[in-house]
């Protein structure tokens, strides 16, 4: 087997004495069977990054796009200029929301395995990304999430029974059973309708932010995508618009190292960081320890204040790790080392915040264990409640004719005709 592609074209002209060109195809460090070793990772100590003024020029903060903003140190202490100095009740609230997100994921993952729904996606290991950000944003700021930010809805106090109804596509689903599970929409929670088409939310968030600015509003927008999704054209269009119009928007890249089976190198990680994408656009770029809830909070708060001060957009890369499979349809054991997750050097975001709270003397292991038990029961009860409205494929769904609603504001003749025909056909079939 030759590693080069053979082709007749271009052969004649090729210089005979020149070295053959080589195509570089990236390869992750570890594959199934390998033992993961992250010791060559450059992890700067917590507290080491400078914190520029929120209104500083992007050109003066390039280092932040290549470093790693970290607040929690190995002992669980909050250190350095990015320490947001949050009050105890806020720390405990974030801890609880992260634990609730994990409990919710565990329950819904199991529901999928039990055949109660078609699909589920966990955010295990990435809880700090959405919980930290949600805590730093104002409750009426508009979020344009991807499918792995369920934590935002949870942090904003959205009823988890409502989220479960969506996952079961049942008669209680406000989205009328139309969307794939986890593709929530909650306008009242400032949570934009999720698309299955990657990164389409990015320019939309910028457009929302531009509209808010044009209207003299005070609300800002925030959006999230995975590192793999930064390759999409929409990402780059969004950056251009955000830069040109100095849109009050926070663009988050959740770098969890994997895009299904493709490691971050296929989105360009071998050459640079994702935060550094900001530099070419003249946007402020921050690279943050995504498993450090306080760093996520501080960076988001900095970016939000910057946007509110009309100093422009911020691109934040959250450096984290996708502990579980991509979705219930995925088998990560087929493409990555089995022990990668346990070797991840930035730890578990919940364990790190718990340690911090314990070190502060505002929390202890017993209370944490009791909280986990309480949350597991709570999601179990909520799931039972939601199941009363039906589970997928068991008949309790929205009426069939609802399929034709909301295509347009008013139903045109052809849809009315199709709707009637469908009902007649099912009636004639005795169903």
């Amino acid at each position: 087997m030759s590693d080069r592609i053979d082709s007749d074209a271009g052969r004649e002209e090729a210089g005979r004495n020149l070295p053959p060109l080589r195509l570089h195809v990236p390869e992750p460090k570890f594959r199934p069977g390998d033992s993961a070793d992250f010791s060559d990772f450059d992890i700067p100590p917590a507290g080491a990054q400078a914190r520029p003024d929120e209104t500083a020029q992007p050109a003066g903060m390039r280092d932040l796009a290549y470093g790693l903003v970290r607040v929690l140190d190995e002992e669980g202490a909050a250190v350095g200029p990015w320490d947001p100095k949050l009050p105890p009740e806020m720390l405990l609230k974030m801890l609880r929301n992260m634990a609730l997100t994990r409990a919710f994921d565990a329950r819904m993952f199991r529901a999928q395995r039990q055949g109660k729904t078609s699909f589920y996606m966990k955010s295990t290991g990435e809880e700090a990304v959405s919980i930290g950000a949600a805590a730093a944003l104002a409750s009426d700021d508009m979020c344009f999430p991807s499918y792995r930010q369920q934590g935002i809805l949870i942090a904003r106090g959205w009823p988890i029974v409502d989220m479960m109804n969506q996952i079961y596509s049942n008669k209680g689903d406000r989205l009328k059973g139309r969307q794939l599970p986890i593709m929530y929409s909650a306008r009242d929670a400032g949570f934009f309708s999720i698309s299955g088409n990657l990164t389409t939310q990015y320019p939309q968030a910028v457009g929302w932010a531009m509209a808010s600015a044009a209207r003299g509003d005070t609300r800002i927008a925030a959006t999230w995508c995975g590192e793999g999704s930064t390759a999409e054209g929409d990402f780059h269009s969004a950056c251009t618009f955000a830069s040109v119009y100095r849109a009050p928007v926070i663009m988050n890249v959740v770098n969890n190292q994997w895009a299904i089976s493709s490691f971050s190198g296929f989105a360009g990680a071998e050459a640079t960081t994702f935060a550094a994408r900001a530099i070419g656009y003249g946007i402020a770029g921050l690279r943050v320890d995504g498993n450090d809830a306080l760093a996520v909070y501080a960076a988001t708060r900095w970016a939000a204040d910057r946007a509110r001060a009309n100093a422009g957009p911020t691109l934040i890369e959250h450096f984290t790790y996708r502990v579980e499979g991509h979705s219930t349809s995925d088998d990560p054991g087929a493409y990555r080392s089995a022990d990668e997750a346990s070797h991840w050097p930035l730890g578990d975001p919940i364990a790190r915040l718990r340690k911090h709270c314990i070190a502060l003397g505002i929390w202890d292991e017993e209370r944490h264990a009791a909280m986990d038990r309480e949350l597991a029961e709570m999601v179990r009860d909520a799931a039972r409640e939601a199941e009363k409205n039906g589970i997928l494929g068991h008949g309790l769904h929205h009426p069939m004719e609802s399929m034709f609603e909301d295509v347009f504001e008013e139903m045109p003749w052809h849809l009315r005709e199709q709707q009637q025909k469908m009902l007649d056909e099912w009636k004639a079939a005795g169903l």
Partner: protein, 334 residues
């Protein structure tokens, strides 16, 4: 072989025969694709010929245009047909017109593989049937197999073709034929006549329809998953329908269609894509133009509705046995 294995085998055969064939797409390399259609190919042919790409559909197709211009035969995969839209400009404005605008100086010999269609609870972003968009574009061919045998033979023909080909794979029948009844257990391809797939090279020519069932009472034009749903409905009803599996929409086997409709005098069209401006509308117009005086009943269309694919109600959206039966009853009434 099931359909996935047949597709894998076609790629394997073509990569073995022609060093210009390269396979690219999201997750197609080491992992072998989320549906495993490219499994084992990277190990066998190396990373230079089978590689993962960044997640950018316009990039994938744009790069394939350039590779084709160099002299390669790229076979890009778009992970789900629902994600072909970001690549539309490269496909429609570039790949489809390169030969024409350069008066043949440059060609775009790519085969874009993409799983399409519903019936897998994929919601609205994993279920669509966008073939009508491509049949509307001049310069691309559109191919849709319905069996493992055809999938392999058509894919080989597509890869050998010097024009850009959109190769839509009906993912509902990757692992076995689907009779349209959600509540019956999934069937497998094992034992199916069309699952006898030769391991070597063979071609199913583009532009030739297949008579899936010969009959006299009416003609049903269909393709992909719908061939099986129609076959089953016809068997359940016991009607003597002729079922034409179109196999390629562009170029279309118009002779086979005319021959059949002239014989039966009745024509029904079944596809999963939305109705308005769907490929069924084109088929209906063609039959009306060419067979009007042979028709004994109005042409019937059974299609997806003009709504996005609804997750929990997909079995009502899907043109299944209930809807096909009503249409057949109607067309046979007078």
């Amino acid at each position: 072989m099931n359909m996935i294995q047949a597709i894998n085998s076609a790629l394997d055969v073509m990569m073995g025969r022609d060093p210009a064939v390269v396979v690219m797409g999201e997750d197609v390399g080491y992992f072998g694709g989320v549906f495993r259609a490219t499994a084992g190919l990277q190990q066998k042919y190396g990373k230079n010929r089978v590689f993962d790409t960044p997640i950018t559909e316009c990039g994938i197709i744009g790069v394939a245009v350039g590779m084709g211009a160099y002299g390669l035969r790229p076979v890009p995969e778009i992970q789900f047909a629902d994600y072909i839209y970001p690549a539309l400009d490269q496909l429609v404005s570039e790949a489809a017109r390169l030969r024409y605008r350069s008066a043949g100086e440059f060609i775009s010999p790519m085969t874009v593989r993409s799983p399409f269609g519903g019936g897998i609870f994929g919601g609205q972003t994993h279920s669509q049937s966008p073939e009508g968009i491509f049949t509307h574009v001049s310069g691309v061919k559109t191919v849709i197999p319905s069996t493992p045998y055809d999938a392999k033979g058509l894919l080989i023909a597509a890869i050998e073709d010097n024009d850009p080909v959109i190769f839509f794979e009906p993912k509902r029948i990757y692992n076995g034929p689907f009779d349209g009844h959600y509540d019956t257990p999934a069937r497998s391809w094992a034992g199916h006549a069309q699952a006898q797939v030769p391991t070597g090279h063979y071609r199913v020519p583009l532009g030739e329809a297949r008579v899936a069932r010969a009959g006299e009472a009416l003609t049903v034009l269909c393709y992909g998953t719908m061939v099986h749903v129609v076959e089953n409905s016809v068997a359940e009803m016991g009607v003597d329908a002729e079922i034409l599996d179109l196999r390629t929409l562009v170029p279309l086997d118009i002779e086979a269609i005319e021959r059949s409709v002239r014989k039966t005098g009745r024509c029904m069209i079944v596809h999963e894509a939305t109705r308005t401006s769907g490929f069924g509308a084109e088929l209906s117009a063609l039959v009306q133009e060419r067979c009007f005086y042979h028709l004994e009943a109005p042409i019937e269309r059974v299609t997806g509705f003009d709504t996005p694919y609804p997750h929990s109600l997909e079995w009502a959206y899907f043109p299944g046995p209930v809807r096909i039966r009503e249409a057949i009853n109607k067309i046979l009434k007078d």
